[in-house]
Symmetry: C2
């Protein structure tokens, strides 16, 4: 008998839908043309980050990642100045409302295009800011941890797009759609070689005999900013994380497993499918070390 | 010295941009919300077809394909009645203009969503019609044929999405962006096992010693409607096309190679990279057999 608690988040999304606000290319509008290449081909990238007291958390690292991701698909990322100017305008327009915290998703696409795959010779990248409330996570995800299921959906190996948080996310959609059981918080994605790559919505780390490990993301997967923060932190501690191929057995026999992203921070994994796994205080310690503020 | 003629089509797209018209969910508007799952994740499908004298060419086959593609990613395709009603309204709104011919692109997405990959429990698929003029192809593509380049961009193997014309098209964007030389009409896409899969914008057939062959699309690639028409036609002739693994050598030593899609029809391939390949009257014959009307 599995005793862990439901933490299905779908219901929480419903009541925040109405409060979603947008800023597109510096204007408070809600319309993208259907010829925008982000819509037509998923020709763009995005990042999701926390907003706390009007400040974007880890903005320098997020911006650096936006630039790197854009570059990999040959989009010239808008300047930090332009993005900050539009963000500040967006925030100012919400004065008097309870929107100084929550989540900001930034989407950058190649811009508007004509018909056909060829990137237009001249185009201005589209900048979209979306504000939404932080999901009301059950407190148990921080006090106890979360259960993950093993997805049947596999990630294809495509080194050209690996690591990038691009808008071609059908694999994640199919994997997330597998989740019917409310006891599970998220899924574990593997590639076709049985290697564990990541969670559907976050990156995975394991610790075993004092060594911290995470899967390489050079063939598929998304390299999250929280993952990068953790890699950077361990480096400053003089005990770098080992990036190495992992299979399910490594997770099941680890001393601890955590799933991480910029929104929910670092969460202890307590179960994988029906099986309880070893847990300790790792997630709580990492949150403290990274100054992650639990909502 | 290569003597084939330039047929770069990018320039032709520019002057038709201004005449692009849209119909979204039955309304003559041009705005998609940024939370539409087609924009957020490429969570949808599309097809492009010819419009001739106000009629969508091969509509029954296109609709059948829309339904099949939607089903593969768990979207309930809107009814043919609804799509036809919206198409007729869209066409009626263009009366008096020169828009009874051209190209219609139909995009169907899962609909509007909240934040997160999970498909909403309840959502109405988004229907988008986009009308644009037929590209002004150089007459040589029909009289002589076209040259193709071999793309460095490879297609990832993902059986779950193979064959579907979904909105996750970054591979095609990267492949098309390789084309700098105006002598080339389109590129040839291979997978990571050196198998030829398709053109960037169309499917490939070869003939050798009286046998017609085309690559399987069960691991990657898009199964086009013109490809299906050709498969169906050969079947009715009692000499079915052989679906079989092909490598570049098979194309270079074929008796003839054609590239096909619903917009430009069937084109003879005359060159691959710098190499001339054997040609015959196959493309012209296929166009006649399939009643393709050259613009």
């Amino acid at each position: 008998m599995v005793r862990f608690q439901p933490c299905h988040t779908s219901l929480f999304f419903l009541h925040v839908m109405s409060s979603i606000r947008y800023c597109i290319n510096g204007k408070l509008i809600s319309g993208i043309t259907p010829t925008n290449r982000g819509f037509a081909y998923g020709d763009g990238i995005f990042r999701t980050m926390r907003l706390l007291d009007g400040e974007l958390q880890d903005w320098p690292l997020h911006y650096q990642t936006l630039v790197a991701d854009c570059s990999k698909i040959q989009i010239v990322c808008p300047s930090a100045e332009l993005l900050m100017q539009e963000f500040k305008y967006f925030m100012a327009s919400a004065l008097g409302t309870d929107q100084s915290s929550g989540i900001i998703k930034i989407i950058i696409t190649r811009g508007d295009g004509a018909r056909g795959y060829a990137p237009p010779a001249i185009c201005e990248p589209t900048r979209v800011f979306i504000h939404s409330a932080l999901p009301e996570y059950p407190p148990e995800i921080y006090s106890t941890g979360v259960a993950l299921y093993t997805c049947q959906t596999r990630l294809a190996s495509q080194p050209l797009l690996a690591g990038i948080k691009h808008l071609n996310r059908l694999e994640n959609v199919l994997a997330r759609a597998e989740l019917k059981d409310p006891r599970f918080f998220d899924g574990i994605l593997r590639d076709y070689d049985e290697h564990v790559i990541e969670g559907v919505s976050g990156n995975l780390f394991i610790s075993k005999d004092g060594v911290v490990m995470t899967p390489p993301l050079d063939r598929c997967g998304v390299a999250g900013v929280m993952r990068q923060k953790i890699l950077d932190w361990y480096k400053t501690q003089g005990r770098p994380v080992v990036t190495t191929t992992l299979v399910m057995e490594n997770l099941l026999t680890a001393d601890a497993v955590v799933i991480v992203n910029s929104v929910y921070g670092v969460l202890q994994v307590t179960h994988i499918d029906e099986q309880a796994i070893a847990t300790n205080e790792w997630a709580r310690e990492l949150r403290a070390q990274l100054n992650y503020v639990v909502h």
